[in-house]
């Protein structure tokens, strides 16, 4: 959605610090994420890009020793507020993980799980429709429509990851977080997922963590570069890759380190 030719801001992080016990993992991150765009987070291993991603749907709550400070505002609401309900938040912000992690249940149950717990379908027919549209959006429908009641773990790696994407979009989230979604996949499956990401951005805001700079360049409109827990530079992907302001960014994208 554009207003006066400028993209709307969907998420804005202000002064975000993250601690694992005594160790600080993220330092004062300030980042704005535009709606209906793909934002890539790049950086060497251990730079904190995944940690930042997991702050956005409060998945870090699972880790006992992890503490998040600062403000993350989504739809004018600070999700780090005490009043924030994580169940509601995660309904709005879906996530796709590094390794495909379908539930060891049937394909149908994998997709229908989210809509079931959030009470989104009133009838079996509605649920069938949700399952079908989700699988179609994830470009998996044609491959699996005849075996919806077989276990999801029987699919190939790329299909499993698309199943996880279908599962994430089944509850119509506004934002989809992707944590290196292609790192366990072969180039063909990767290409399919990248195509899918391009399609999904029409309806969802996407944030993707990736190790592959080529992938970031291919799929994203905006890029943020993390290094040692700091956000070194962020801006349009074009600018970051062609004309970075910071030397470290320059060094990283040209492959001098990382």
């Amino acid at each position: 959605m554009k207003k006066n030719g400028v993209n709307m801001i969907k998420i804005s992080a202000k002064n975000v610090d993250v601690f694992y016990g005594k160790k600080q993992a993220l330092f004062n991150i300030n980042l704005e994420i535009e709606e209906n765009q793909v934002t890539a987070l790049i950086g060497p291993s251990g730079c904190g890009k995944s940690t930042f991603l997991r702050c956005l749907n409060r998945m870090n709550d699972v880790i006992d020793i992890c503490k998040v400070q600062g403000e993350i505002v989504i739809n004018d609401f600070n999700i780090n507020d005490k009043g924030c309900d994580v169940v509601r938040l995660r309904e709005k912000i879906g996530m796709v993980f590094q390794k495909p992690n379908p539930f060891p249940k049937t394909l149908y149950e994998n997709i229908s799980y989210g809509p079931t717990i959030h009470g989104m379908a009133q009838s079996k027919q509605e649920m069938d429709e949700i399952v079908e549209t989700s699988l179609k959006k994830a470009a998996l429908w044609e491959e699996v429509k005849d075996r919806l009641h077989e276990p999801g773990t029987g699919l190939s790696g790329g299909q499993q990851q698309r199943l996880c994407i279908a599962r994430a979009i089944s509850v119509q989230p506004e934002v989809i977080l992707m944590d290196e979604p292609c790192s366990a996949l072969d180039p063909i499956a990767t290409a399919q997922i990248e195509e899918l990401i391009d399609e999904l951005k029409k309806e969802h805001t996407i944030i993707i963590v990736t190790h592959s700079m080529a992938q970031a360049a291919r799929v994203s409109q905006n890029t943020g570069f993390f290094h040692l827990g700091e956000l070194i530079e962020h801006g349009s992907t074009d600018k970051i890759f062609k004309n970075p302001e910071n030397n470290k960014t320059q060094d990283y994208i040209t492959g001098r380190f990382g």
Partner: protein, 422 residues
């Protein structure tokens, strides 16, 4: 240099060979002991599944039984069978003197009167006729027939007299002694007479104890394990609890027996010698086993499944109940069955709470007095009669069979229902 290297290599190979040899001999030893044990049990026990019967002609004389020609069912129940029973035994040797008649009577179990009665009740038309009836032989003659009795001992050291042996040998010659499958071993309760002793009361006692144990230990242990693993914060207090659960698993079982005696019987005044108290006592023992198995299988559920559910907006409770717990169930269940199998073989605590009492009724509920299979083995092993020796082994076989079935079941659950994740 090169030679040194070769030497070193040869040394490495020979050490591996040595280790393999030691490992193989250890396995061989273990199997050998097992084989000896099983052979011993089977070779002494298999005869207990056969029972010796004397075929004795019985004259169902109405007059002797004080019955009229057309007795009702009640009349048949109330009739006097003692006289005809006694008479049919005496008829085996018409010339027997009083002492010998007494010996004749002792050739069969004291149950013989009831066996004869049952014969007539099953077929009232026998009244007034003579029919060959199968009568349980005394345990000593049973052993004689099975070849387990030392006939060459001097008579004063035997419980079987020369006269009894003579009559018995005559009966064998006439084909009037038969060995048949010993159904009463499974359907009769315990008895002081070896030929009538069965495992029905202790088997039912074991079943009831195990059910009580399962009903208490399983829900408590699973809830404790789920809370500790999925919800409890990880701090010093929960560490302390975890250590103590492991300690509980290592407490000798007799201590639980004392606990049952001191608390359940003395304070709560629960009925003595009952599977209810036995089951509660055993559940204390089984509890830590199930908690440990359940926690281990909860831990084995990949965190990615929890993350997937949480990221879909499932609450912690939903994540646990919809995903983690169902996935951990095969492991939990097989752990539970193994815990129950341990409880099934437990003797010491049951002796302390009085399940060692002589029970000659078959319990119909956990509130009735009962023994249990291992305790039954203990009771019979203490008995002097030769007839109990094979019963002990047979009871061990039944117990082992029970345990094998349970462990097999645990294995099947584990293999069949364990989900594979990529």
């Amino acid at each position: 240099m090169n030679k040194n290297k070769e030497k070193l290599l040869a040394k490495r190979y020979s050490s591996e060979k040595r280790f393999q040899f030691l490992g193989k001999s250890a396995i061989f030893m273990a199997l050998l002991f097992l084989a000896i044990f099983i052979f011993k049990i089977f070779s002494t026990g298999y005869t207990a599944f056969q029972k010796t019967w004397l075929i004795v002609p019985v004259n169902f004389d109405a007059e002797t039984m004080y019955l009229d020609a057309n007795p009702s069912k009640e009349d048949l129940e109330d009739a006097d069978y003692f006289e005809i029973s006694l008479q049919s035994m005496f008829n085996l040797d018409k010339n027997a003197n009083e002492k010998q008649q007494n010996e004749l009577k002792k050739m069969v179990s004291y149950f013989f009167e009831r066996e004869i009665k049952q014969e007539l009740i099953n077929d009232p038309s026998l009244l007034g006729k003579t029919k060959d009836v199968y009568i349980t032989a005394s345990d000593d003659l049973d052993q004689v027939f099975k070849g387990n009795y030392p006939r060459d001992l001097p008579e004063n050291q035997r419980r079987v007299t020369d006269y009894q042996l003579k009559i018995f040998d005559q009966l064998v010659e006439q084909g009037k002694v038969e060995s048949k499958f010993n159904l009463s071993f499974f359907t009769y309760p315990d008895s002081r007479e070896a030929e009538l002793a069965g495992i029905a009361s202790s088997f039912m006692g074991s079943i009831f104890s195990i059910l009580v144990c399962l009903a208490i230990a399983f829900p408590v242990a699973v809830l404790a394990a789920i809370y500790l693993e999925e919800f409890a914060p990880k701090n010093r207090f929960t560490d302390f609890i975890e250590v103590n659960i492991n300690n509980l698993a290592a407490v000798p079982s007799i201590v639980f027996g004392l606990l049952g005696l001191g608390i359940l019987l003395a304070v709560f005044q629960l009925p003595r010698s009952t599977p209810l108290v036995g089951g509660i006592t055993l559940s204390l023992m089984t509890l830590p086993t199930i908690i440990i198995a359940c926690r281990a299988s909860l831990k084995a559920v990949p965190p990615s499944i929890r993350e997937a559910a949480l990221a879909m907006g499932a609450s912690r409770m939903q994540t646990t109940m919809h995903h983690t717990v169902p996935l951990s169930m095969p492991g939990t269940l097989s752990g539970t069955i193994i815990g129950l199998a341990q409880a099934l073989g437990e003797t010491a605590p049951l002796i302390l709470i009085g399940m060692v009492a002589f029970v000659n009724t078959i319990p119909g509920s956990p509130m009735d007095p009962a023994a249990s299979l291992p305790v039954q083995i203990y009771i019979w092993a203490e008995s002097a009669e030769r007839g109990f020796v094979e019963k002990v082994s047979a009871c061990i076989m039944v117990l082992l069979g029970f345990l094998i079935v349970m462990n097999l079941f645990a294995q099947i659950i584990r293999h069949k229902f364990e989900k594979k994740w990529s």
